[in-house]
Symmetry: C2
């Protein structure tokens, strides 16, 4: 069971993120209104807002769960949202559904979806760097640097490229672990690191969070693979059973389902042990790990 207080916290961050997105996304206007609508379709009203939650929870370890965490979490979410729009395109995963609604290129069209993704990425960096967000200039620049690294060729985009090429040729466990580290792990790791940057923690704190984040990211992916195999499409709100159809190697397909479930528990034990230095403050991130490995959507 996920604790009610964790769910309330997650909901509070999701609400904050939604309000911030509402404030920052363009109101449809002008001859380019369709682009604005596509950006809103892609970014608003959905998602668990896992990455903003991690920014907040990490910053909170250092008593800094304020506006800086909100804008930073929103920027990471914009990058995540753009990546889903592009990943869903016909040339990529050709997905129909996303968050229980038509994928962006289905609700609009392919060209608009490509542009909406591009514009969401620009917006992410723009809001992070903007002095109007109240953060010090060196923090803003540092967050942009980190987000760019996590989102780019050495992170999310690099992972998606490996994922593209993985169809047909069955990768081994090392290869899909690296794929996950880049494709989803980099943005999760950045979310935790961003909280550390906002909170001005120590080098040891940074390493502890990086260790927790690596284990969490891997667990997140294994759980995703298990859900793709056994989840309820109505509940999950996106296309399932795609990995099997594409003959993609996944953690459960390589390790076996039982071993994959066992790995989740091992990762949880190891990841949470990294948080010991933060004492009781780390309760939220510990509970969140439980949530990740038990979630049904």
């Amino acid at each position: 069971m996920t604790s009610p207080s964790l769910l309330a916290r997650m909901q509070a961050v999701a609400d904050r993120t939604e309000r911030e997105l509402e404030r920052l996304l363009p109101v449809p206007a002008g001859a380019e209104a369709r682009l604005h609508e596509a950006m809103r379709h892609a970014a608003l009203g959905g998602g668990k807002r896992v990455r903003p939650f991690l920014v907040h929870a990490s910053a909170d370890l250092f008593d800094e769960e304020g506006p800086a965490a909100t804008v930073t979490g929103t920027a990471v979410e914009l990058v995540h949202a753009y990546s889903l729009v592009h990943d869903d395109l016909p040339a990529m995963d050709d997905a129909e559904l996303r968050r229980g609604r038509p994928a962006c290129h289905r609700a609009f069209d392919e060209a608009t979806a490509i542009l909406a993704g591009d514009a969401l990425q620009a917006l992410a960096f723009g809001i992070l760097a903007d002095e109007a967000n109240g953060m010090a200039a060196d923090l803003r620049a540092g967050l942009v640097t980190g987000l760019a690294r996590a989102a780019g060729h050495g992170g999310m985009c690099g992972g998606q490229q490996i994922d593209l090429e993985a169809e047909g040729c069955r990768l081994d466990l090392d290869a899909i672990t690296r794929l996950q580290e880049l494709k989803t792990g980099a943005l999760i790791a950045f979310s935790l690191d961003a909280g550390w940057m906002i909170g001005k923690g120590s080098t040891e704190d940074r390493h502890a969070l990086a260790g927790y984040g690596a284990d969490l990211g891997l667990a997140f992916q294994i759980r995703d693979d298990l859900l793709d195999l056994t989840g309820d499409p109505g509940l999950v709100g996106k296309d399932l059973r795609r990995d099997g159809e594409a003959e993609k190697a996944t953690f459960p397909s390589l390790m076996g389902t039982d071993e994959a479930r066992a790995a989740l528990l091992e990762l949880r034990a190891r990841g949470c042990a990294r948080l010991d230095r933060f004492g009781d403050r780390s309760m939220v991130l510990r509970e969140f790990f439980d949530y990740v490995i038990n979630r049904e959507l």
Copy 2:
């Protein structure tokens, strides 16, 4: 005739930009090497590097034509390069040629081209924000903010959306002027503004450069439209006569070819008059305006 010294300057900036791109683009490695190769295909070895030139020429008005201008020009060029990759996609302009070589999605594939564009955009913001580039933190953050605005929904992406929707329905002169201001004007204006930011000019300097940039950007587009109509495909190195095929409204098609040529001269006179406050220092930008309205590629 374009002055030999202007061409030498343009070549020097192009060389610097090329070296900087070589230094900053990933060396193909790992399972995602194809992404790296596509990024290099899209960004290296081509283009007039107009935007980096404008950053340098603008910064030079304030005696600041150093490494800051080089990294900033390179960042703008990365955004320009990514936009060409995405604009050339089948869902957009479906172009075969770019800079005399196969468009990125033809040299690689569509999915890789989408990702390469995405990763080039992330890299642009990353290199601009990175403290390793030696700029002060508030300058780095300010440049990211400006570039994000110029590249995003209120700039380049917004303009490309209008352009997409312009096919079939013939826009009027006001509408294509706004299209141009967003699609190509925003990045040109930012290039000049970036030089001003680097050089720490006055508010009046900024306005003068903005006025010059608006006229230059419009002239650039009119010249582009004229070249599409009358240019030599072998020389220009990209697909021509596409506007007519797509029944797109262009400046020459709405104004008439002679009037479009006359407008180039008017824009030049007005734009260059904005530079009077800079005295002899502005010679490079004046000569560049001549180059833009006379260029054959």
